[in-house]
């Protein structure tokens, strides 16, 4: 394969560099982008739309990428793509209305036998995270599932590190309150 073109000779050769950058820089983080989008949107269909939108934006913004952390940069674009969609849908208000103001405690009438089932615990945890307000949900997902540092989360969500910390603390408080039964189970393991 020919390599090492010495100087850009035309506009399309400049684009060679930009295009190459996209495959190397953005595509390796497609899973992370989809996971984040899926948790933000709580729907496969919406997550796919958001990721596609984010990829096109990333292609456009790639020449201005100065951030060494491409994954955080790309997830920030995913987040912006999602919020643009919400803004477009605001009139229908189908998004905000589906998020309850407070997380509801798990039905305490559940059969203890059922609580012992791992599958049910999984569903409960997922449900508890999905029911968190979006601000809390995303910091939990980025921290616990994506394994991001506070600095990376701050870059994605565009908030100060102190705010990352306080949101995480409040998100965990809520989760701990909602997830008492599975947590007790975890304790016995």
């Amino acid at each position: 394969m020919p390599r090492g073109i010495k100087r850009p000779r035309s506009g399309s050769l400049l684009l060679v560099m930009a295009s190459r950058g996209f495959e190397d820089t953005v595509l390796p983080h497609l899973d992370a982008a989809f996971n984040y989008a899926r948790w933000l949107t709580r729907s496969d269909q919406d997550a796919e739309d958001v990721v596609q939108d984010a990829c096109v934006r990333a292609l456009r913004f790639l020449p201005s990428l100065r951030e060494p952390d491409a994954r955080a940069w790309f997830l920030a674009i995913v987040r912006n793509a999602w919020y643009s969609r919400i803004a477009r849908r605001a009139a229908a208000s189908e998004v905000s209305s589906s998020i309850p103001a407070t997380a509801e405690p798990v039905d305490s009438a559940l059969d203890p036998e059922d609580l012992l089932s791992q599958r049910q615990a999984v569903a409960q945890v997922r449900n508890a995270i999905e029911q968190l307000p979006a601000d809390f949900r995303e910091v939990i997902v980025l921290r616990e599932i994506e394994g991001f540092s506070y600095k990376q989360i701050a870059a994605v969500v565009n908030i100060p590190i102190g705010t990352v910390m306080s949101r995480l603390a409040r998100a965990r408080e809520r989760l701990a309150a909602v997830l008492k039964p599975p947590l007790q189970m975890e304790e016995t393991r």
Partner: protein
């Protein structure tokens, strides 16, 4: 450190985001405070539960191909914009001069197009964007261009003589959309760029540029450019077969 201080810093401590001094202060506190130690255990349990129970959603093949398609389309649009900008610049700065030159040459500047064809060929290999449609079947590749171009490129199957079709993609050459057909010859890739020509017929011209070989002809109102790093003899054989 009081229990309250520890409570405030416990998230950062669990996440290993504390500075050293704070971490040491917390450890000292935990060593003599059972209540805070319990809280720490709760935190760790919650983290374990979340990490073990929660799915990591991965991008499906479907979304991957949707993204490739969207990126390909976006690139074609961007190239059109780049060309429009370049054209505007040319008109703005040296339009008069270029106009005179191209009138003298009476036709498209084939040197410039040859440059562009080579650049497209390199780009298609470097950027890993050889195909928008990947198929060895001419009856898959040809219909794929329907609705994407204002002409229908001729697609031949030359597998029988050792040049299997590999696929096609959209290109933008000489200021207009073109069909790119991709053929393989062992490890070599051959790009065939096709678009409607101003002239009706011309004989085949052969040239080499930056280590690549090009063949160009016009036939039935279509301009053909063949480009590859394949040797001239084999490429000529390929071009002859394509013209039949």
């Amino acid at each position: 450190m009081t229990c309250e201080d520890v409570g405030r810093a416990l998230d950062a401590y669990v996440d290993e985001e504390c500075d050293r001094d704070t971490a040491i202060a917390i450890q000292e506190h935990l060593a003599r405070c059972a209540a805070c130690l319990d809280r720490l255990a709760d935190y760790e349990r919650l983290g374990r539960l979340v990490r073990s129970a929660v799915p990591y959603y991965t991008a499906s093949e479907q979304i991957r191909s949707r993204v490739s398609l969207a990126i390909a389309e976006s690139r074609v649009r961007r190239r059109i914009l780049t060309w429009a900008a370049a054209a505007a610049l040319a008109i703005g700065t040296g339009g008069g001069l270029i106009g005179v030159r191209s009138m003298q040459r009476a036709g498209p500047n084939t040197d410039m197009i040859a440059e562009e064809v080579v650049t497209d060929h390199i780009r298609s290999l470097m950027a890993d964007h050889l195909f928008d449609v990947r198929s060895t079947d001419q009856h898959t590749v040809k219909p794929w261009f329907l609705g994407k171009l204002d002409f229908s490129p001729p697609v031949s199957d030359l597998a029988a003589i050792g040049f299997p079709l590999a696929g096609g993609r959209l290109e933008y050459v000489a200021g207009r959309p073109a069909a790119a057909l991709v053929y393989q010859r062992q490890k070599h890739t051959i790009n065939v760029l096709v678009w409607p020509a101003a002239d009706n017929q011309s004989s085949t011209s052969v040239r080499s540029l930056r280590g690549f070989h090009l063949e160009h002809w016009v036939r039935d109102g279509m301009s053909f450019w063949v480009v590859s790093d394949l040797n001239v003899a084999e490429l000529t054989g390929f071009a002859n077969a394509l013209q039949q």
